[in-house]
Amino acid sequence: MNEFFSQTYEIKGKDFQNAGKVSTGIKTLLKQLGIKPEIIRKVAIACYEAEMNIVMYAKTGTMKLDIDTKKIKITVLDQGPGIQDIDLAMKEGYSTATPEMREMGFGAGMGLPNIKKNSDEFKIESSIGEGTKLEITIFIN
């Protein structure tokens, strides 16, 4: 059996009211599918950070969830400013968050590093002025 579940979620930029909704929905779904709690924890962290990056920085974006018997793949695509220096953005503590975002407790510079830490495979591509693509794979077994 290959893919047995695939769904794409839309995420709006600057919509702090609904921020976290997609990640929370994905978590509920994985629970219903009977995925192990330690796998769900990793997916939830990665999805939340990716979702917040879209909310904070992009105009709009999508998160695509693909699940098969071996792995959970999350593909995140945004229409945003792009990342100037990916190596720098991957460093813990580095953030381009505004003072307003920092006041809300964002901008710890932990987003992308947290995603990578919780992924078994992680790919990032970005074009300035166009957007960023993340491919996150978490193995189920």
Binding site: F16, G20, A44, A108
Partner: protein
């Protein structure tokens, strides 16, 4: 120790989830940075913070935290209360600072075995 006992001893205000307090507390985590909480808090823990905006609710749901305790006598925003009710998240508040509240929780034995 049960959450209801802690609320009584430390005189915490219950803002949401008043019917959901008969739960065993499994330590705590204090931070105002949401990514830090997402990365490092454990389920069943108390989250001590001074953040009051709506996004704290999603963090508590995702991490399955037992309750959010807002410190320094701050009150959560109306939309935070609304969302917490919808999502079944317990929000408490204390007039103490984060440092003092953590100290008192620790004195009660919360988090000592974790």
């Amino acid at each position: 120790m049960k959450l209801a006992e802690i609320i009584k001893i430390l005189n915490l205000n219950v803002i949401t989830g008043e019917n959901d307090l008969d739960k065993e507390v499994n330590g705590g985590y204090a931070s105002d940075l949401l990514s830090d909480v997402i990365a490092n808090a454990q389920n069943g823990q108390l989250w001590i913070t001074m953040q009051t905006h709506v996004n704290i609710v999603a963090v508590a749901v995702l991490k399955e935290l037992l309750a959010i305790i807002i410190v320094n006598g701050r009150n959560p925003a109306d939309d935070t209360i609304q969302k917490a009710k919808e999502q079944g998240v317990v929000i408490l508040s204390s007039n103490l600072s984060a440092f003092k509240l953590c100290g008192k929780l620790y004195e009660l034995g919360i988090g000592k075995d974790v």
